[in-house]
């Protein structure tokens, strides 16, 4: 009676498993072949993710990095050293959500691109007035 349920050429559970595996592998190949052939890069820039650094976002969106620091409440770099933390850490440190970080960065990016005028150059170290210390005559005013 078992013979009635065996297709021609295949005998035993092992061979059936191979046939099923072959069919599944073909399906897997087909699905990913379709994805490779029909993959289209996103029409806009890549979405901002938590792992990205400010430097990476500036690089990916082709804007000068120094314009992305003030919206996040960070000192502009330059002249400060570049902040290499991932955005998720910056968000935590600044008590912001990632959605807020994205929104602020996108706002700065939009305003750094045409039709808006180009952003000003980064501040020079000598343009930054140091905070006055008590008992200290302080740095030269500009």
């Amino acid at each position: 009676m078992a013979e009635r349920f065996k297709l021609h050429g295949l005998h035993g559970r092992g061979q059936w498993l191979v046939a099923v595996g072959f069919f599944l592998a073909l399906c897997l190949t087909g699905v990913f072949a379709y994805r490779v052939l029909h993959h289209r890069p996103p029409p806009t820039d890549e979405p901002i993710r938590g792992w990205m650094t400010i430097g990476y976002v500036a690089h990916a969106y082709r804007v000068p990095p120094h314009i992305l620091y003030p919206p996040l409440g960070l000192p502009s770099a330059p002249p400060a050293p570049p902040d290499k933390r991932p955005l998720r850490e910056v968000a935590r440190a600044q008590n912001l959500t990632m959605d807020e970080v994205r929104a602020r960065l996108m706002d700065a990016i939009i305003h750094a691109r045409p039709p808006y005028p180009p952003p000003p150059p980064p501040p020079r170290p000598e343009d930054v007035v140091p905070s006055p210390n008590i008992g200290n005559t302080g740095g030269a005013p500009r």
Binding site: E3, K6, H8, G9, L10, H11, G14, Q15, V18, A19, G21, F22, A25, L26, C27, L28, T29, G30, V31, F32, A33, R35, V36, H39, P41, P42, E46, P47, R49, G50, W51, M52, T53, G55, Y56, H59, A60, R62, K84, R85, P86, R88, E89
Partner: protein, 216 residues
């Protein structure tokens, strides 16, 4: 907490040491977004935040270390497990067949699983250990494959440094396409063998199981 953000973000936070540690763990079998990690590392190299030499050395060493862990887990622990489950794997004879096949094709399989069919890497580390594939050969194919993988992916990250997620997605699709194609090829060949051998034995009683009762 987004797992990918945490893993890839660790690269930005801790640099090259994080790359080493993550690759050890991933190569030992823990799933991790290593494709994106390497491509992002390439992007950081392009931006001058990391050096190519340190990225390649740390990544390769990490991946090779993880592979060795998988191999020796298979060699020392897997063999005992396989011995206990002999009737599931088809008996001692079947295990011997797997060992013979590994010795014959193992080098190519190990090499390809480092950079092309990467999801098969960790299981192949285990099976290489279980089937006692010679360690020196395993190491040789492993080192060559991992170096190729690291240099290729990091270079892609350098070239497409502002589109790392797109590149990583494409690489992921290509990898799984290759995995599907290789498995389909291997299983298809096996299936073809079954069908061919059954065609010549059509008159054989399917009830008979003892070889001496087969009618030629």
């Amino acid at each position: 907490m987004n797992f990918t953000d945490e893993i890839v973000g660790a690269l930005a936070s801790y640099g090259v040491p994080a790359l080493y540690v993550i690759l050890v763990v991933a190569a030992a079998g823990v799933p991790a977004p290593v494709t994106l990690l390497l491509v992002v590392a390439g992007s950081f190299v392009a931006q001058g935040d990391m050096s190519m030499t340190s990225v390649v050395i740390a990544s390769s060493l990490g991946a090779i270390t993880g592979d060795q862990i998988g191999y020796f887990l298979g060699r020392w622990g897997g063999r005992k497990l396989a011995a206990r489950a002999l009737h599931f794997v088809g008996g001692e004879a079947r295990l011997q067949q797997a060992e013979d096949a590994t010795r014959k094709y193992g080098g190519a399989a190990i090499f390809l699983s480092r950079w092309l069919i990467t999801p098969l890497g960790p299981p192949l580390n285990l099976t290489s250990g279980i089937t006692k594939y010679p360690w020196a050969k395993f190491l040789l194919w492993d080192v060559m494959g991992e170096l190729l993988w690291v240099v290729l992916y990091v270079q892609l990250g350098r070239i497409f440094s502002d589109r790392v997620e797109t590149v990583a997605d494409t690489l992921g699709n290509v990898t799984w396409l290759a995995v599907g194609a290789v498995i389909a090829l291997v299983l298809g060949w096996k299936l073809f063998g079954y069908l061919r051998s059954e065609d010549s034995d059509e008159s054989v009683s399917v009830v008979a199981v003892e070889p001496e009762k087969k009618i030629s």
